[in-house]
Symmetry: C2
Subunit: 164 residues, 2 copies
């Protein structure tokens, strides 16, 4: 069932060293030391005011290399089939990525957000930026199901590539 | 600039007591004691396996009552104009909501996720469910800019209603 009258607007793009999923960090906090930024297009740059005083932001993106999906997947950190919605697999009904990244600097005029810890492929379309608010979103003791026993895999292999 | 070839698939809907934005909790954790659930449509229910062992989930939704946007807004918790991307205003270029809710129970067969702390209007289209993983996403001391001095408003008024 398609959502009616919905179109996604690209507000910018990711500029990262990652050109294929294999080898890309699995979660944003894994990729700390690479040069990366988000480029926001001119008509949206005024919305970047006040962002620099946040340590972290949510970067919502369209995972453009993701195609198709299955309702059970074996995640990187596990060896068993898990329900898709209990995983962060990029292959989803709506392949929207939520990346929590650290903000180094914001250049409003040029539309450049320098970030650390990004896990997006180069040129991934950006569709939203939201502030990270620990008062709402930091819940250290929240149980995390199968992930509590997961292994410590740090980079992606090719299991979710579209060429699988 | 529209993202090419993108359509959003509705995987379910929110069932909540909230029928208008005015009076709806501002952030999910404010709305703890109401009866609410997410209904997932049949073809996506198998993806709910393993979800119940997570205390919290991210519910991604399409904020269907949100229309239009401006690059500066006065947030509920403030009295000054702020850059849109430094706020959680529902009026955005892509009105995608990210609600962090507590999972009470998951009925895979019926496609019902009973939740606490939801901030969505009744019948809001759901487009994704992701597990909340504190190992990645809980950063208690992350600076939160203007929100650190914000007031303690608990429910919405009508400033972001489409009838403004």
């Amino acid at each position: 069932m398609l959502v009616e009258n919905t179109r996604l607007v690209q507000i910018g793009r990711a500029v990262t060293p990652y050109t294929q999923q294999k080898g890309t960090p699995i979660q944003p906090w894994r990729g700390e030391s690479v040069e990366a930024h988000i480029e926001i297009y001119p008509e949206f740059r005024d919305g970047l005011n006040d962002l620099e005083r946040f340590d972290r932001i949510w970067v919502l993106s369209l995972l453009h290399e993701s195609t198709g999906f299955e309702m059970r997947v074996i995640p990187y950190r596990d060896t068993l089939l898990r329900g898709l919605f209990a995983t962060r697999s990029p292959r989803r009904p709506n392949p929207i990525g939520m990346s929590l990244v650290t903000v180094d600097s914001v250049d409003i005029e040029k539309g450049i957000i320098r970030v650390q810890g990004i896990d997006l492929l180069n040129n991934t379309p950006i569709i939203d930026i939201k502030p990270y608010v620990p008062q709402f979103e930091s819940i250290p003791d929240s149980a995390s199901g199968w992930l509590e026993n997961g292994n410590d895999t740090r980079v992606a292999d090719d299991r979710f590539d579209k060429t699988d």
